[in-house]
Every structure is written in structure tokens, then in C-alpha cells.
Amino acid sequence: MRWGYALDTSFQDHEKLVWTFGGGKGGAGRTLLSTTLGILLAKEERNVVIFDGNLECANAHTALGMRQPQKTLSDFITGKTQDINELAVPTPFRNLRLISSSGDSISATNHSSLAAKNRLLKLIGSINCAHLLTDIGPGLNFWPVDLFLKGDVQILVITPEPTAVETVYHFIRMLIYRKFKNQLGAPQLENTLSAAFTDMRTSGLNDVMERVLEKISATDKSAAVRIAKSIADMELKLVVNQTLDRHDKHIGPAICEIVNKFYGVKMDYAGFIPFDERVALSLRRGRPFIAEYETSETAACFSVTLRELLNSISARNRKRQLDFITS
């Protein structure tokens, strides 16, 4: 037992874990999932920070039942503070702090220049905590996509509606596109890349990736190998929120099957959260659902999902240790 315990928490003390919650579609439940899992992790005596990465419309504080904190990312973006750790404010929950996004959406939208965003991306690793849960806003542009890729645990959150399903495939295409683009220097290859990705709006990525990698390989073999490895190493997780019936519950594994075979990346199904009107009602009362209905079936689904995610991280760590030892 002791051995098992040591392995299962191997990431806890000496390694910070960045969790990112993305998916592209607004209203899918990223804030709900990130704040709920944050509360559950903090309850297990882990040192947790929730990072509200939705620069234009911060609301993780509301989901946690708080008012907008005095210190927010605005202070960092506008240069009022240089130390990002100063922005981590206490929440009503022990062991859980929040770095709130901008309190001033006008200044955030206007001032959050590319340089400021890039600076934020670099500094995420320096936030002091064991678990950094990053809530990412909607959209498919560079900020949500690059922020998502910063995660050690990359979780896509969808609802079973075709609109969310469609968007998540676009989001995955963008992730792969950024993986390519972040590794490329030569402008002519970037043109090839953009052309290839524009070609495939509703198809898998196998052929596109093969074609582009071949072209890259012709001029820069090591870049092609690097890109292929970084894509093959990806491990996405999928959570389906607001499921209504058994068909909804089947959609998660089905999406993973398709992504695993046609998108070149590994994606595992991590669980579902059933539709529960009490989630909306508790939000209106200004209390997080998980604190109000701790013993509900829906709360159990959050716990099961968290357990599944933690187990998969432990399994991955064990595999990496083994690979390291045997290599």
C-alpha cells in the first residue's frame, strides 16, 4: 500500500502540475469544471491555484462565490506589478487561491498585447503551487490555443450538442496547427502549412500532417522529427458536460475513437457530468455547486472524473519513469 501511495502522489510534492481546460465553445462548462476540480483538489490538502485565463471576461471568481478581487491580471498586464505570485488571492476554500483575470475588460482588451500575453505564457510555470488549474476562454485564436498547450493535463470540455462537438474538432485542428507553427521558422513552410490546414475544414488530419511533414522534412529533417514527436506525445482528455441520456454518455468515447485514429493525437475519455439544474441554481445563489450539493450524484461524477484524471497522470508518470530507466 505504501508503495502504491508513493507512486500515486509522485507528482504532488516536487512537481507542479498545470491543468488547462479548453475546447473553444463558450458555455461548455470549463469554468464549472476547473473551479469544481480545484475545490476538490484543495480539499485533499493540495496547494491549488485557479488561473482565470479568460482575459476578456473574467468569471472564475463568481463561480467560486467571490467578488472580483482587488488584484487581478490587469495589474500585471498594465505593469503595476511584476510578480505574478502577488496576484494569487485567497478564496473561501482552504488551500485554494485564485489569480483572477482582468477586472477591467476595456483595459484588458486594449492592453493585453501580444507581448503581454507572451510574457504571461512564459510566467505560468513560475506560479507557486502544486496544481495550477487554468480556465481558458472561448475561441480558437492564438491565446486560448497556446495557453491550452501549456498544460501538463490538457482537458477538453464539451457538451453533447453538435455545435460543441464540431467546435472541439476545430480546436484540436488548431492545436495541431500551432504545434507545427511553433516549431517552424521558414516563411515558405508556414505558407505550405496554412494552405494545407485551410484545405481540411471537415476532415481528419492524417493526410494533411503527412503531406506537410514530408515538405518540412525535405528542407529541415530535424524540425519534422521534432514536430512529429511533439504531436505523438500529446495526451488530450475529454470531459462531456450536461449529458441528458445514454446517447450523450456515448459521445465522449466515440469522439476519442475518431481523434485517436484520424487526428494523430492520443485522446482519452475522462468522464461525464450529467445535466443538473441545481448547477445553475447554486450559481445564482452565489455558491459553488460542489459546496452546496457535496453528496449529490452530480458531485460524485465530478469526483470520479477527477480520480480518472489523477489516475491517468500517475500512469503516465510511471510510464515516463519506466521509459527513462529503460532508455
Binding site: P160, G204, N206, A232, H247, I255, E257, I258
Partner: protein
């Protein structure tokens, strides 16, 4: 190496380990055919129709090949061992299909055990003659099966296809399948079990209204 559906072997197509039992193969087939069916919500926005159809074909091929291999292994393994496999009871061995006999053997076995029945052979020929028509219906298939003296339980045991699905084929009831696309594989297995041409039967059965 980036994963690619084009490079998967038959087991990988069905997400199976190499020693998968026929029951597992059938389950995987049902599961995957639903995922890649035309009306699947998971496919929406993910794949082009061409990719989807290609995958359905691959699943079909993998299912048929692995199922027939599973049957063939059962047939060759038994005489080579010289005695019954510990997990197989003596009673089961006597039953057609009970020891994973290849599907097409049922009709022949039945004929062999009832060789003197000239009438039976005539009935079979008469029933099979219906197949020369352009279309084949569930009733045609049922007549042939009865003429050959094969029960649905036997076909189910040999093909590992659930009896309820076989009944659905005979009663022309596609609604009983989780998705219409399942029918093709099952009709082929059914036809093979009766010693008929699987391709021809499935073609004539599925496309009779067009």
C-alpha cells in the same frame, strides 16, 4: 511516429488485442459501426464522408476476416490436439457450431447427417432457386434455412451473431439493428453459414428497393 488510421492492422482497426475472442470481435464491430455510421453525432464535423465510408469498409473487412480466422482456428486446433480442449465439454463438440466450426460448415454438416433425404435436397434446390431473382428478402432466406434444416441457434453459435439480429434479417426489420449499417456484416455471416454467396446475398438483400 504519428498515429494514422491508414497504418492500422485488423486488430487495431477494431481496438482489439491479438487474442480477441469472437464475442469481443462482434462487440467491437457493433460499437465501431455505430460510431462511424452516417448519422453518428461524433462524426459530425470530424471527418469527410469519404473518410467515414473508408473507415466503415475497413471495419467491415476487419470484422469479416477476424471472424473467419477465429472460426478456422477452432476447426484446425481440435484434431491437432487429439483430444477435447479442457474447456470444451464432450457434449459441445458434437454440436455444430459449438466448437467454433466455420460458419459455412453448418449447412454441409446438416446435409451429411441427412443424406438419405432426397426430399430435403429438392426443397433446398427449390428454395435456393428463389435467389436467382434480382432481390432477396428475409422470407427467402428463412425458406432456404428451413429447407437446409438449420436452426437460428446454430447459425448464431457459428457466426457469433445474436439470434435477435438473425431474426431481424429474416423478418426484414432493420429497425432492430442499432444502425442499418450493421446489417451488411450480419447478412454476409448468415449467408456464409448457409453456404450461400455472402457478397451476392448482401447485395441483393440490401439494395432490392433501389
Amino acid at each position: 511516429m504519428i498515429r494514422n488510421a491508414h497504418q492500422l492492422d485488423l486488430h487495431e482497426v477494431l481496438n482489439l488485442h491479438p487474442d480477441a475472442a469472437p464475442e469481443e470481435i462482434e462487440r467491437a464491430y457493433l460499437h465501431l459501426t455505430t460510431i462511424y455510421s452516417e448519422n453518428s453525432r461524433a462524426v459530425y464535423g470530424a471527418l469527410s464522408d469519404e473518410e467515414r465510408r473508408w473507415m466503415v469498409k475497413r471495419i467491415q473487412e476487419a470484422y469479416e476476416t477476424l471472424m473467419s480466422r477465429a472460426g478456422a482456428v477452432g476447426e484446425t486446433r481440435q484434431p491437432a490436439q487429439g483430444k477435447a480442449h479442457p474447456s470444451t465439454s464432450a457434449g459441445e463438440q458434437g454440436k455444430p457450431g459449438g466448437s467454433r466450426a466455420p460458419a459455412q460448415d453448418i449447412a454441409k454438416q446438416q446435409r451429411g447427417s441427412d443424406d438419405s433425404s432426397k426430399q430435403g435436397a429438392e426443397r433446398e434446390t427449390k428454395a435456393e432457386s428463389q435467389l436467382s431473382a434480382k432481390a432477396v428478402t428475409g422470407a427467402h432466406l428463412r425458406n432456404i434455412r428451413i429447407a437446409k434444416g438449420v436452426s437460428l441457434d446454430e447459425i448464431s453459435a457459428a457466426t457469433k451473431v445474436k439470434k435477435s439480429y438473425l431474426e431481424a434479417i429474416e423478418s426484414d426489420n432493420p429497425k432492430r439493428f442499432p444502425a442499418p449499417v450493421f446489417m451488411k456484416g450480419f447478412i454476409k455471416a448468415y449467408a456464409k453459414a448457409l453456404g450461400l454467396n455472402p457478397e451476392e446475398i448482401s447485395e441483393k438483400y440490401l439494395h432490392r428497393e433501389q
